[in-house]
């Protein structure tokens, strides 16, 4: 059919010429690696010793759940997410609601709060390692000499009790501003007519918030929520720079354990199985989120 109509064939060729560069790049560096990754995750593949991956079925995935380190990494990632996520959402929402009013300096506040999004996490990791450091860290200095609370001084990154929470603080510093901006654009999209009508009806500010603003933000909740959870699940950069999984295994997370399996132990198969496990986790949570916060049609 296509061949018989020269105009149609021409359209087909021209359209494909437009998409060709993108398709070639994505095919070579995304599609082919994705298929290759799937194969590796079902194979025994030690990059140093073996030439080719040897198919071994589900062995890698079964091995994972018998590996205590993997279970620790899974647990730590869940802990990171469960602490990071509510704080991220709460701070982002509250600051967005406050900054949504016409206040002097609003633009400057927004730029300042969003600035960490461009600071590479690995460099933020250096900055915060120093801030949290025992002897010359500004945090311990402030606690002891400014707030006069020397009891709260810690070896923040060397203590299994505080290391993970310190990494979460860095994540919050980096990402919360972006959550604020996403919420703000959701708030701006709510029509001011609704508030006008509510004003005539004598609705107070709290009722405004709970009956108008929050229900209308459902779309933003799903957007910010999915984005925030994915940032938590893929936590990696600041962990490598600040603790590299330690002390002990207290900050070993999924991304880091996958990396170690692949590039320290050269177990590419296990590394890839962890990667797909993480991907499945991220996709399932996103889908659930989208489903729960589906905007009502009306």
């Amino acid at each position: 059919m296509v061949k018989r109509d020269p105009r149609k064939r021409n359209n087909f060729i021209v359209s494909w010429l437009f998409v060709l560069p993108a398709v070639l790049l994505m095919g070579a560096f995304l599609l082919y690696p994705l298929l290759s990754a799937l194969r590796i995750s079902f194979s025994e593949y030690n990059f140093v010793y073996s030439e080719k991956p040897v198919f071994n079925g589900l062995t890698n995935y079964i091995k994972l759940f018998q590996d205590p380190h993997f279970l620790v990494a899974f647990k730590n990632t869940i802990y990171y997410t469960l602490v990071f996520f509510p704080l991220f959402m709460l701070i982002a929402l509250c600051l967005a609601l406050l900054l949504n009013s016409k206040v002097k300096g609003n633009g400057i506040f927004q730029t300042a709060i969003l600035l960490p999004i461009v600071v590479p996490l690995s460099l933020a990791g250096i900055m915060f390692t120093w801030i949290f450091s025992q002897d010359f860290g500004i945090l311990n200095h402030l606690l002891a000499n400014v707030l006069h609370l020397p009891n709260l001084q810690r070896f923040w990154l060397g203590d299994t009790q505080t290391a993970m929470n310190s990494l979460i603080a860095v994540g919050l510093w980096k990402y919360t501003g972006f959550g604020i901006i996403l919420f703000l654009s959701g708030l701006k999209a709510i029509s001011s007519d609704i508030y006008e009508v509510a004003k005539v009806d004598g609705v107070n500010s709290w009722q405004n918030l709970f009956y108008i603003t929050l229900p209308n933000l459902k779309g933003s909740f799903s957007l910010v929520g999915i984005w925030g959870i994915i940032q938590a699940i893929k936590v990696y950069d600041q962990v490598v720079v600040m603790t590299n999984g330690g002390p002990g295994t207290s900050t070993l997370v999924l991304y880091l354990y996958a990396w170690k399996n692949a590039f320290s132990f050269f177990n590419m198969g296990i590394g890839e199985a962890i990667a797909f496990f993480t991907a499945a986790l991220a996709i399932i949570i996103s889908v659930v989120f989208k489903f729960v916060l589906k905007p009502e049609k009306g």
Binding site: A22, K234, Y236
Partner: protein, 281 residues
Amino acid sequence: MLRKEKNKSYRILVFVIGVIASVTVLSPIIWIILTSFKDVKEIYTVPLTIWPRKFVWTNYLTVVEGLPEFPTYFFNSIKVTIGTLLLVLPASAAAGYALGRREFPGKAIINLFIIAILAIPFLVFLIPLYIIEDILNMLDTNIGLILPYAALNLPLGILVMQASYREIPSELEDSARIDGANAFQTWFQIMTPLVITGLAAVTIFTFVAVWEEYMFARTFMVNTSAQTLAVGLPSLRVESKSWAYGTLSAALTLSLLPISVVFIVLRKYFVEGVLRGSVKG
């Protein structure tokens, strides 16, 4: 009357919270910048000072003169970022135009693939890409980062450009065709000048993504000569595995400078672009 009073005090409250939030967020960066002007002795003197007793340039001089790695990292970051943009911008504009405004067989599959890729964490691609680069001798080269970065940033770029081209009224395209312009001319001369904001959005978020990327760069660039700032600076540890904070604070300040300038200039498009991309995906 009462309402107005209340409103005014609310505004002052919001302003105060805004100032506190901004200062809190910026404080680590301010701390680094202030420290970079301190004398090395002052940095390691307890109790610590926040404001430098005396502003000195020594740390910056050490970075420029005594740290040959720094310019290497810096120019690798610049080269890789520009190289990636030179691939992502034209490729996403061309593909975005075809996918946004033309009907052709295969379009649905490409769109489906793009959406699927956006849902997959990059970690999945790391191991096979390493193996490919090892075979092709691309490890420890700039191109070894540019090609995967371009591919990884294309899906979001295409989504943004697709949405941008779709917003243009079709009369423009029709009249160009009647005037005898071919498809390529229509795309490049008539349509693309109208999607500059979309291109700005793709530029800023690709720039940010490449400048900060750590995992791929760390894995593929083992040799100092090929490393970018995000990977190189954390590896500049002195003996006993700690960092020399005087030099490092100056190096950090210098490496945050270009990205901050780009960000402050293009901030509006950054937000717009990511919103467009993520709403679609």
